[in-house]
Amino acid sequence: MTCREFVARYSEYRDGLITAPREARRFARHLASCTACQRYDAALRRGIGSLQASGPDLDTAFRMRLERRLASERAKAARPSLPARPAFAAALLVAIAIGLVAWETAQHRPKVVIAPTLPPVPFPKPVAQAGVPFVSFQDPRTSVVSGNPYPYGTVYVEPAFVEPASASSTSR
């Protein structure tokens, strides 16, 4: 057995978890022959022994303080079970608020004015113009102002000239 193996499984050995007799013998043999592991084991045992010997001293003040707190807990437990105070207070406040709102509403009910119905008014009948909708590429502004008020960037387009039907038939 190597020292590394001994240290790695030292806890099991110390706590008696190595139950196989052969393994336990291996540990015991190594501990008996290796001074480094003996030092390790002795240091640990001595340190822990010293720790176990020194416990904290309890003063009477600690116990008295605890007894006072326990007495207050006992008194609290002995009291008849009432609803929790904060919850009870909150519920009471909500009930009062609801009551106030209801009372206020009943006292000052707002008057609702109903608007009078107006007499029916004849609506102008829309006039539909039959025919093909007029489509033009002419700038509509040119029809408002004579001449071209925007000479730059725009093109003045003369309205198309349509020969009257009677004139075309006579020429034939």
Binding site: Y10, S11, A43, I48, L51, A53, L66
Partner: protein, 209 residues
Amino acid sequence: MTMTAINPSPRALEREALHELDDAHVVQRHLAGDSQAFSMLVDRYQGRLLSFVNRTIGDRERAEDLVQEVFIRVFRHLHRFDQTKKFSTWIYTIASNLAKNELRNRSRNPLVFFQTIKRNWEADHRPLQFEDTTARPDDLYRKRFLKDAVEQCVSQLPEHHRVVFVLRELEGKSYEEIAEITGCNLGTVKSRLNRARNSFAQLIEPLVE
């Protein structure tokens, strides 16, 4: 000549009877309304819990406050305790959780570093008059030196190793109990304990030679 026999009071007899009972029965007596039963539980656990919490958090005054809190919580919630389980495991779990919370809060609040300074300061100025006067001065010195050294070594262990180490070496808890108290699995407890022991041995070895 007449002899007057000193009869112990019924209260003392009751207390004597409580001494004989194990934790589970004392808990049952408390739940049944025995006013002395809870005091018995406090008697049994106050020193052990104080030692455990003190070594876990490294601050005696705060440890006392936490142990008081443990007993108050136990008193409030004992009726909810599953009596098929071990009482000692339950009470140590409460103490361990409170100690863990304390360490977590401390890491968030750097102001408590003052406690460390205060602790060292107290160690230097501890009065000597309460020591055992029958022992030789060099023995006293060696004993005190070793005590301080081992406490220092324990405080140097990482928190999760320290808890396992203290529970095993000082409180004598089984691996299963430690696993239940710390909320870890058995394998983790074993490996943490082995590492804690190795670290402790390495720290203490040069000091005890």
